[in-house]
Symmetry: C2
Subunit: 158 residues, 2 copies
């Protein structure tokens, strides 16, 4: 599980850098598919990850409103802030499957922690795939998505 | 690792079913981003997965040409065929990390088997994200991408 978070966060940071070279109007402008804009996609990925990670720990859901995070810097800063707490959780996660069953306030079903972790990983990669199409539609080269051939920074090095 | 393959293959099959309701010209028509068409994307996912899975086993690369798989039925049949061999490999994979270092003919770098497995999983999810944008551009509802809330069929049930 952990290497996928390392991958997702490295790719996410590369998208933040990519976005910083984009005019504001392209960042927030409406796009077809996904959650509808580049910035909203990044916000949504962070929001979903953070909510589920808190949810599986039985912590109260903290709801972020996109209206409060409508610039690249605000979203990037939200990402950094949430990442600290998610990293703390991941430190205790271990290698094996966690079959503990959890419930979260926004979903009627029960899932195992392991299922939620898979969900979060797939969720981010899926939305990043959407960004890559929008980038090409802007005639820009998207951030590379390959997993092999990138040096992943270990989450727990410090 | 295995649950991600179960997820990817279930989603892939749902895309095959989705594609079967699409006119041929939309399936093969040019799209912006990714590998350039819906059908080529599905072909590419299968081709990449199969090549790497053979590669990490030290088996000779079998190169498929898209020209030979230019219909939905041919691509779906290729998917089924390759899946059998990939499943056999996955049966022996186990739960832990496989740090064995491998080389493949199409890449100068060395990777661990574990890295390649991560690569394949992320690769398919990323490309499926691209399909979801193209679906919306066609005014169609894409296949759902969520991991939680779907009953995954166990790969090794038979």
């Amino acid at each position: 599980m952990i290497p996928f978070f390392e991958y997702n966060w490295q790719v996410r940071d590369e998208w933040f850098a990519w976005c910083s070279r984009l005019p504001e109007e392209e960042l927030v402008g409406p796009r077809t598919g996904g959650v509808g804009s580049i910035l909203k996609t990044l916000f949504h990925i962070i929001d979903v990850e953070y909510s589920w990670i808190r949810g599986i720990q039985g912590k109260e859901d903290i709801v972020f409103g996109y209206a409060d995070y409508d610039t690249l810097e605000k979203v990037r800063s939200l990402s950094d802030r949430c990442r600290g707490e998610v990293t703390e959780f991941l430190k205790g996660y271990g290698e094996g499957r966690n079959e503990k069953v959890v419930r979260v306030p926004w979903d009627e079903e029960e899932y195992t922690v392991d299922e939620v972790m898979h969900h979060l990983i797939a969720h981010e990669i899926h939305h990043i795939g959407q960004l890559s199409v929008w980038a090409r539609e802007l005639d820009l080269t998207p951030v590379a998505a390959h997993y092999v051939g990138r040096s992943l920074k270990t989450l727990f090095s410090n």
